[in-house]
């Protein structure tokens, strides 16, 4: 069949194209980081570092203290963690270990639905329904608080935590469970003392990824946290400003090339680095756990 040469050329072209697309991911990460740096580093020059670390974020008066923003993101995320970690892990345990097969097939798509809910829709409900409720229940001046944001963020982080943790629990070899049961343990004892501990790193990864997502959330928090950049010890029950909401809210009104503009990019760099760190740690934990499992099962 006289096709060899033409086919060989085709194969090399395809291989080149496919390879370029494969490399593109690295290219995109690099380009994103570069652009952020290009627009964000000037802020370090234009604003004295002492000011950046100050407690007042008031761009109109050229005050660019990042601390209230960091605190805002931090408080909201920790609040989300308090709700989503127990709920998420419990749900994952239920789906992976307790629910019968038919229930699993129903629950998993259900959690996926939650994952698909746009953050603006949750923010909308939070603004219209949840915030007024919180105002009345907790007797606060306004329902637009960090707490409200935390609840919404917990809802958004939950599906991530559930699916990654569930994968981790699934990956625990059946022989571990069978062994424990054979030794006379009850199902719950097996889960609590054998399965969960051995899935420890996977569950930790799940939590990290979920919280990573929470820190990066924009719309839902922007709509319900009240957007007041302030620092107080009871921050949870008062309005706050996250880094993400700051960027989203102020970028539209900023003159391109102004100091404010550059500082917003600086905030974006911080967010990028945080998510970078979280994901590197999480993926190396997953990677190491997978290697350990492969060694044990081979």
């Amino acid at each position: 069949m006289p096709m060899a040469k033409h086919r060989r050329l085709f194969e090399s072209v395809v291989q080149l194209l496919v390879r370029l697309c494969g490399y593109s991911a690295v290219l995109f990460v690099g380009v994103i980081f570069l652009f952020l740096l290009q627009e964000g580093l000037p802020a370090l020059v234009q604003v004295p570092p002492a000011s950046l670390l100050g407690p007042r974020w008031y761009p109109i008066e050229s005050m660019y203290g990042l601390l209230p923003l960091l605190l805002g993101s931090f408080v909201v995320t920790i609040g989300a963690a308090i709700f989503s970690i127990p709920f998420g892990i419990a749900t994952a345990v239920f789906i992976a270990e307790v629910a019968p097969r038919w229930m699993r097939e129903l629950l998993k798509p259900f959690v996926e639905i939650l994952a698909g809910l746009p953050s603006v829709v949750l923010g909308f409900l939070g603004f219209l329904v949840l915030a007024p409720l919180i105002r009345t229940w907790l007797n606060l001046p306004t329902g637009l608080t960090a707490l409200t944001g935390s609840i919404l963020l917990a809802a958004m982080a939950l599906p991530t935590i559930v699916s990654v943790a569930e994968d981790a629990l699934d990956a625990v070899p059946k022989s571990y469970r069978d062994g424990a049961l054979a030794l006379g343990a009850t199902k719950w004892q097996t889960i609590w003392r054998v399965t969960l501990p051995s899935a420890r790193s996977g569950v930790l990864t799940a939590v990290m990824l979920g919280l990573g997502r929470a820190i990066g959330e924009t719309m839902a928090v922007m709509m319900v946290t009240g957007n007041a950049a302030q620092m107080r010890w009871d921050a949870l029950f008062f309005p706050a400003r996250t880094m993400t909401a700051t960027i989203a809210a102020e970028m539209g009104e900023v003159a391109s090339g102004s100091t404010h503009y550059h500082v917003l990019f600086l905030v974006a760099i911080i967010l990028f680095l945080i998510s970078f760190l979280v994901n590197i740690i999480a993926s190396s934990m997953l990677f190491r756990a997978k290697k350990r499992a492969e060694r044990m099962l081979s």
Binding site: V18, V120, F272
Partner: protein, 283 residues
């Protein structure tokens, strides 16, 4: 006081079930609430006509059209690149440090906050490349954001195809691409499709990436070219619920419902594809 094991198990399981029930109930409540309040607003006029009186009346047709444009545009850019990247990772990539670097890059792209994408999109596409605030800038931004999801799920689908098929094909004189094109890709297609739809579902619902790259609130007519701005459902919902005084609640819920239906429909289609083809699999 030592709790007997059987009792401890009953308590633990009851607690777990309760938590599960609360979660399920919460999700159901959210969805039902939006349907309940939004359904009355849905009418032919609401869905298919242009808005009037500063969005306080009339329809949201341009927002619906805008979201469709953005979703399709994102797909056209992200799917070819993402699929080829997945093919590279699954079928061609050697076991090297650079391949690991690619994977790390993908994980990172997946984790970048959507507002950072919006900022980057603005800096690169709108300003640097002078595309202006436009559909094309927004689609490019959304495409890069959707890329990691598509690559991950497509790669998983490709890897799931048994290696024995590839070995047999090669042993009969097939080249790598022939094997991919004739066996691996067709078998992986349902999984790839599911991943693409789920990725696009997310792109359709995102607001932050399009805030500064192409979305606009009040446009007098539908976009005429890819260089025009467009209205979009998520952005529209954001503005009418938080920025416009006197906006009828009915319209807000109606908009939220339309967006919700859009997203749920994609979810449903993806799930159906997945379960249908799982049963028909020939391996």
């Amino acid at each position: 006081m030592r709790i007997p094991r059987a009792l401890a198990q009953r308590i633990a399981f009851a607690l777990l079930t309760a938590i599960m029930a609360v979660t399920v109930l919460a999700i159901l409540t959210i969805i039902t609430y939006i349907f309940w309040n939004g359904l009355p607003a849905l009418s032919g006029e609401f869905l298919f006509s242009m808005p009037k009186d500063g969005m306080r009346e009339g329809g949201i047709w341009p927002a619906i059209v805008g979201t469709l444009y953005l979703t399709i545009g994102t797909a056209l850019i992200a799917v070819p690149i993402g699929l080829m990247a997945a093919i590279y990772l699954s079928e061609y990539a050697p076991d090297s440090t650079f391949t690991r670097a690619i994977r790390i890059a993908i994980v990172n792209l997946a984790g970048i906050p959507s507002v950072v994408y919006g900022l980057f999109g603005m800096a690169l596409f709108v300003l640097f490349l002078s595309l202006g605030s436009s559909i094309i800038a927004a689609c490019l931004t959304l495409a890069i954001m959707t890329l990691p999801v598509i690559i991950s799920t497509a790669e998983e689908a490709l890897r799931a195809v048994p290696q024995s098929f590839r070995v047999v094909s090669i042993s009969m004189g097939g080249t790598r691409w022939q094997t991919i094109q004739r066996i691996v890709l067709p078998q992986a297609l349902p999984g790839i499709l599911t991943g693409v739809i789920l990725g696009l579902e997310r792109a359709a619902g995102e607001t932050a990436p399009i805030l500064f790259t192409g979305a606009s609130f009040f446009l007098p007519h539908l976009p005429q070219s890819v260089f025009d701005e467009t209205m979009a459902l998520p952005y529209h919902l954001f503005v009418i619920s938080t920025q416009v005084p006197g906006m009828p609640v009915r319209i807000q819920y109606g908009t939220a419902l339309v967006l919700l239906i859009f997203v749920l429909a994609m979810n449903l289609i993806a799930t159906l594809i997945r379960s249908y083809y799982r049963r028909r699999r020939q391996w």
